[in-house]
Amino acid sequence: MNRRSVASVALAAALALALPAGAEERFITVASTTSTEQSGLFAHILPVFEAATGIEVRVVAQGTGQALETGRRGDADVVFVHARAAEEAFVAEGAGLERHPVMYNDFVIVGPGDDPAGIKGKDDVVEALAAIASAGATFASRGDDSGTHKAELQFWQEAGIAPSGAWYRELGSGMGPTLNTSAELPAYTLTDRATWLNFSNRGPLEIVVEGDPELFNQYGVILVDPAKHPHVKAEDGQAFIDWLISEEGQGAIAEYTIDGQQLFFPNANDAGV
């Protein structure tokens, strides 16, 4: 073989590898949050949906802010996130169609076991944050415009505190990396329970505050507006949304547990969530 034919074989091989497989696969792309992906929820419920409909669901796990941006740009068919105000804004600006509530889980504050701010056992998140600030105990913030970050900022606002100073560390990271850093500092941080239960590198961290109704974390699902992005797979995307809020989908969500603990609580039929 001369060099030119070697090169053309190599080129053909490269193209064969690079091009997508011939058969058209039926799939939708869902922009969602790290908490739903990393908690293992999707790995549990998606096979049920795929078996029922033959539609493969490809999940891109991002922070809520980034996931909404992915939807806004038309790079996902469905967004499945947790920040109600931002979701309603997404619908209001015409990026998405109707918002459907799906389920909630809850946030907890975790912190070092020796509890320098003395907040262990409190059930009022705003009081607990105020105590952390006045003790100047290290607090790690996601700082990444995620749903968890938005919730944290909301709690500070309710506490009437504009957090700043050496004790307040903005990490600009996802939930897992923030927990890794918090375990090392150590620091208090706000996390969703699902990610916490799935997280193994806990170090000195433990749950210090939980159970405040304010800590409920509502998830919503929205179809990206096909009028704005004509390539959006409206029919299959809507099928996924319909399934999530159906009895079957809600049941699959409720079934998912880690160590016997239910992580997500379906509430598609509740009013005003």
């Binding site: 997508p20 490809r58 890794n180």
Partner: protein, 235 residues
């Protein structure tokens, strides 16, 4: 300790030929080797041409190729994301969040390495053989295939450097691939994911497997070169 048990876990994963792991390894190899093949097809001739041709702006082209060897993967990823996004100029292709997008990103990342190192190798060879080749009536551009063949050992090292950069990077493939389970999850994005889940032992085990793959590929390249040299001596 995590460090020692990670070794055991790595061996266990390999021994069990864990199907998810096999899929991730195959995807990583497919993406990186395709990117490398494309970068070689474009970069070897381009680098050689840059070494031998004389044109205005050649100095600038060389400086840019050298500088882009240091292109931060996350910047490359972001730019390619914006290009491939449905709202971007190449949106109609619909290849964001696919292996193809990751191949594009890695090709962009390693092309400057292949071009720059090829240019240096060929320029040095031309300096050495210019007179002989000229006396045989060869113009610089027509000497390109001969020079590439002569410099193949050095050029393989250039390609291995490109492979190393592509297989090790996570910033770009994470942005343009989306780390979708079973679809665009590679070794490096899986390692980043397991680290963020606090599963440090599994992350480290995957890292060891990736290192093992890289060492194996480099060993193969080394053996091939030795075989080739030995063949040349015998002939």
């Amino acid at each position: 300790m995590a460090e020692t048990s990670a070794f055991a876990l790595a061996l266990q994963l390999i021994g069990a030929a864990d199907p998810v792991l096999v899929e991730i390894v195959l995807l990583s190899l497919r993406v990186t080797l395709t990117a490398l093949a494309l970068a070689a097809l474009i970069g070897l001739p381009l680098g050689a041409a840059l070494a031998l041709a004389r044109f205005p702006g050649r100095g600038l082209a060389i400086v840019l190729a050298n500088a882009f060897m240091g292109l931060p993967p996350v910047v490359a990823g972001l730019v390619i994301y914006l290009l491939l996004s449905r709202s971007g100029p190449l949106g109609p292709l619909g290849i964001l969040f696919t292996p193809t997008a990751m191949i594009v990103a890695q090709t962009v990342l390693i092309l400057p390495i292949v071009v720059s190192l090829t240019r240096q190798v060929i320029q040095d060879l031309w300096g050495e053989y210019a007179e002989q080749l000229r006396s045989l009536g060869s113009s610089p551009l027509r000497a390109v295939p001969t020079l590439l063949w002569d410099g193949r050992f050095s050029l393989i090292t250039a390609l291995l450097a490109g492979f190393g950069r592509a297989s090790a990077e996570v910033g770009a493939v994470l942005i343009v691939g989306g780390n979708i389970a079973g679809h665009t999850r590679t070794m490096t994005t899986a390692i980043a994911l397991e680290t963020s889940r606090g599963a440090l032992e599994l992350a480290l085990a995957l890292g060891l497997i990736l290192l093992g793959l890289t060492v194996t590929l480099n060993a193969l390249a080394y053996l091939l070169a030795r075989l080739d040299r030995w063949g040349a001596t015998v002939a």
